[in-house]
């Protein structure tokens, strides 16, 4: 069943303004948090088991604990560069409840002792950006940001930075480079951002949803937060349901929810006469699940990890039996080829190579060895680069070829799609 914790008031008018937000209990959590000790907040977040909602699922409290105690200024960055194909939860959160994000950020900044934070918004999000900008101005006007917030003596400044539309800037070090005014390229790790991040200072990068969820942890306490979800994946999460379902959209469900229920109950099932073929459970970078697997899967970090895929950003893409997998892989490979930053060789050359291989099959020029080659190339791109974009490109390629090999082989042998029957070779000439 859909539960509404984060999204409780999202449907109410005026929730995006400070008045509407305060009427519904907004900024009360901030007042509560400012009375707490920063370390207690960190411990509370640790105890809640809140995991990063951006994709990697790293425990937020633990991340905050990595900051060194050397008296240097720390930075808090909000990652609102939501570029993962299939994901659009952050956009909703920023459009409907910008103050929730700002409140969560001030609490988090207070917890880690940061005097300055940035919201890095995806370049294409003009409208959400305008709303967050307005909310930020309201927060400043009401003394919620700036010097001596609510008389607590805590100073904090917040700023918005708009990306230029690069997928790679959603990677935390890529985002830091971009924010520093450099080319948006991930930085070599170690040193990790928590030690040397923005401008060489300790930096924490959190997703929009994670920071918003901090308000819930403060409001209800860690124990109450843990009531939802599973042991290792507590809380609720927004899932962006898309693809061949009747009602695509953002749905907040507790972690551990059954994937098939999300599709059939929340999403209203597939269109009549269509059959489920596959599901990508966590954004395009996750490995694809076939029908049998998706019927068994539950939406939590550990179950999907067991199935050799990931929860990622929570973008559930449903694929029914009218789709050609070769075609789909072509789209994905084009995306990753286009978005590779070009720094590390395996990714720079590998993404292009994979696209060429898939396009070769699509144009009817493919050979049977090419299918194996896709897998080999993808395997050799995994884990050999600075950031995870290479893996993100390789995972779909590997899983598509592994799970839907018959479609690829059919395409190579017949020169046309098994599903659509279109002969691309003829189309191209």
């Amino acid at each position: 069943m859909e539960v509404k914790h984060l999204t409780e008031h999202y449907d109410k008018d005026g929730y995006a303004t400070i008045k509407g937000y305060q009427k519904l209990g907004g900024y009360e959590n901030l007042k509560k948090a400012l009375k707490m000790k920063p370390l207690d907040i960190i411990n509370e977040v640790k105890a809640s088991g809140l995991r990063g909602r951006g994709g990697a699922g790293f425990p937020t409290g633990v991340k905050w604990g990595f900051l060194p105690n050397n008296g240097e200024p720390r930075y808090l960055l909000c990652n609102a560069d939501e570029g993962e194909p299939g994901t659009y939860k952050d956009r909703l959160m920023m459009e409907r409840a910008p103050h929730q994000l700002i409140e969560g950020m001030i609490i988090s900044a207070f917890a880690i002792g940061s005097p300055k934070s940035y919201i890095y918004i995806r370049g294409e999000y003009f409208y959400p950006k305008s709303i967050v900008e307005k909310a930020l101005r309201e927060a400043y006007d009401n003394g919620l940001l700036g010097k001596n917030i609510l008389g607590s003596g805590f100073n904090h400044d917040m700023d918005i930075y708009s990306g230029a539309g690069a997928y790679i800037c959603g990677e935390e070090t890529g985002m830091i480079s971009s924010l520093e005014g450099k080319k948006g390229q991930p930085k070599l790790k170690p040193p990790f951002p928590a030690i040397q991040g923005y401008l060489g200072k300790p930096t924490i990068v959190n997703n929009v949803e994670t920071l918003a969820a901090v308000t819930l942890v403060i409001r209800d306490g860690a124990a109450a937060f843990r009531k939802q979800g599973t042991e290792k994946s507590p809380g609720t999460k927004l899932f962006s349901l898309s693809g061949n379902v009747v009602k695509p959209g953002n749905y907040e469900v507790p972690l551990g929810y059954k994937l098939i229920d999300l599709i059939n109950i929340e999403g209203g099932g597939l269109k009549p006469g269509r059959k489920l073929k596959a599901v990508i459970p966590g954004g395009s970078s996750a490995k694809i699940l076939n029908k049998e697997e998706s019927e068994k899967a539950t939406l939590d970090y550990e179950c999907l990890a067991q199935m050799d895929t990931m929860l990622g950003s929570g973008a559930v893409i449903v694929i029914d039996d009218t789709n050609c997998m070769v075609d789909l892989l072509g789209v994905l490979m084009h995306f990753y080829h286009h978005e590779s930053c070009g720094q590390c060789t395996p990714c720079r050359e590998g993404t292009g190579w994979l696209e060429k291989l898939v396009n070769g099959i699509k144009s009817g020029q493919g050979k049977l060895q090419d299918i194996d080659l896709i897998e080999t190339v993808a395997r050799n791109m995994c884990g050999r680069t600075i950031c995870a974009l290479s893996d993100a490109a390789a995972f779909p390629a590997m899983s598509f070829v592994l799970k839907f090999r018959d479609e690829f082989e059919f395409f190579v042998r017949e020169g046309r799609s098994k599903i659509k029957g279109t002969s691309y070779a003829k189309m191209h000439h």
């Binding site: 070599l188 070009g342 060789t345 395996p346 720079r348 292009g352 050799n380």
Partner: protein, 517 residues
């Protein structure tokens, strides 16, 4: 001091050493392109993959610090497979134009392929096409297709020359190295980017297509362009010297050298050199053997000494010769000829202290310190002013000039020649033909050997003595100053100073495997 094992051998390294540095220290070969000891770590080529026991994935050696008990291998199957694939990714879009690529023979891709690769290509698709033969200013040509985007050149302009001309534009496999709005790359260190380019993407205009590198030998020497005394490798063959490349010396030049220094080989080649002794008397020029001319000079000096005493013989010195040569010449003048008339010819005193902050110094002589030491040892302290006086007073009957090897940095030569016009006999020892000598009453030019043809000690700006050995023989008839001094004194040249020099061949990977081509 953590201990670790590299390929089964236990070693101890300093705290904070990276695996790559340990490989360098122990001289274990490891594949890499983007790592350069003189630059920051980029970690982008992903070629230096090593297997570390206990880690699920292979790691890059350049950015992994060694911890106690680490077991590292770059020869295990897993590491080799990683390297093989990293190399394959490099090669898939690299054009196969090795035949016309200037880097062939010293190319990182060729070398690593011979070491770690040797397999059939798996790429069957078309390669990405990019711009070729891009003019990057006065000295460098860029081929973006050959570039493997290791970012060494970009980091060089960022970190070493601090001029920030180069950058990587665009993304993914469309990335290209270039300059903003195609502005030229015209700093004094631009050719270093060519040296550190592991492939043929950046080539030097000066060396471009002149010679294949496997037909060149190299030997170390020093650059004579200024008083820094950068250590260089001289690349030469029987056709002469083709280029200079910096040789690492942490005390002098690090990994780099300036572009002006790279030009100093040009006046060493035989086309620019004085190959025979030249006698110019009353406008008529006759050629003869250098040794013969030196013997005639000896007779002339003898005669003048008898007539007018030692002080009617003068010596003009420039700071472009070695300590040993100064010692021999000064001994001849001070003891054998009994002359105190040694004059120091300073070319550009005003800019002596100029310094560009990296390597290039205002003092354009390689051995100013050495000359000053030799002069003070013999208590010679006269300069041109004194010489002018003495010439006007007709005190000098003969002047021996140890002319500059690099005449470009002595712009006042013609002016000084006018002054010498009133001296009866001028003996000019020089490596290159001196223009305007026909204006003199009598000028004997004796060819002498250049820096790369002789052994000697040079003292650089900070007092560091650098001993060099002969690199090659370009003008075999030329004399060193030591030999000239011996001949002037009426002695014979000892035989061994004329032993021909043999260069070492650069045995590179390309050569080892040329049977496989």
């Amino acid at each position: 001091m953590p201990k670790c094992t590299i390929n089964g051998k236990e070693i101890e390294v300093k705290d904070g050493t990276t695996i790559m540095e340990a490989f360098y220290q122990k001289e274990v070969p490891i594949a890499h392109y983007c790592y350069h000891p003189g630059l920051s770590i980029a970690g982008v080529c992903r070629l230096c993959m090593v297997e570390i026991e206990g880690m699920p994935r292979t790691q890059i050696a350049c950015n992994t610090k060694i911890t106690e008990g680490m077991k590292i291998s770059n020869v295990s199957d897993k590491a080799k497979d990683s390297v093989k694939w990293a190399l394959d990714f490099h090669l898939i879009n690299h054009p196969l134009d090795c035949p016309i690529c200037d880097q062939a023979g010293e190319c990182g891709l060729q070398e690593q392929y011979m070491h770690f690769g040797k397999y059939e290509p798996e790429m069957g698709q078309g390669k990405v096409k990019k711009r070729k033969v891009v003019d990057l200013g006065e000295r460098v040509v860029l081929d973006t297709e050959r570039c493997i985007l290791c970012s060494r050149c970009v980091r060089f302009t960022d970190e070493v020359s601090k001029t920030n001309e180069l950058g990587i534009f665009n993304r993914g496999d469309r990335s290209e190295v270039g300059t903003f709005q195609d502005k030229p790359l015209n700093n004094n260190y631009s050719v270093n980017t060519v040296d550190i380019c592991p492939v043929g993407a950046l080539t030097a205009k000066d060396f471009r297509f002149k010679q294949r590198v496997w037909l060149l030998k190299n030997r170390e020497s020093i650059c004579t362009g200024c008083s820094t005394g950068c250590n260089v490798n001289v690349y030469f063959n029987k056709g002469g010297v083709y280029r200079l490349k910096p040789k690492y010396n942490s005390d002098v030049n690090g990994h780099w050298m300036c572009d002006k220094g790279r030009d100093t080989y040009k006046h060493l080649n035989v086309e620019a050199r004085l190959t025979k002794g030249k006698k110019t008397e009353e406008g008529k020029t006759t050629e003869c053997d250098a040794g013969e001319l030196a013997k005639q000079t000896a007779q002339l000096i003898e005669k003048i000494k008898k007539e007018g005493g030692g002080d009617s013989i003068g010596l003009i010195v420039t700071a472009q010769y070695s300590n040993e040569e100064y010692a021999a010449m000064f001994e001849l003048f001070k003891i054998k000829l009994g002359s105190n008339n040694v004059f120091y010819w300073i070319n550009n005193q005003k800019t002596f202290e100029a310094f560009d902050g990296l390597l290039y110094r205002g003092d354009k002589n390689p051995n100013t310190k050495g000359l000053l030491r030799a002069l003070s040892k013999c208590k010679f302290d006269q300069t041109w002013d004194k010489l002018e006086e003495k010439i006007k007073a007709k005190q000098l009957k003969i002047v021996v000039v140890l002319g500059p090897e690099n005449q470009e940095v002595y712009p006042d030569i013609s002016e000084k020649l006018k002054l010498l016009n009133s001296v009866d006999n001028v003996v000019w020892l020089t490596t290159n033909q001196v223009l305007g000598t026909e204006l003199l009453k009598s000028c004997w030019q004796i060819p002498v050997k250049s820096t790369i043809e002789k052994s000697g000690t040079y003292i650089n700006f900070k007092g560091l003595e650098q001993k060099i050995k002969p690199v090659t023989n370009i003008v075999s008839g030329a004399l060193t100053l030591t030999e000239a001094a011996a001949l002037f004194a009426g002695d014979e040249i000892p035989f061994d100073s004329k032993t021909p020099v043999k260069g070492e061949r650069v045995w590179n990977e390309f050569f080892h495997h040329r049977g496989d081509l």
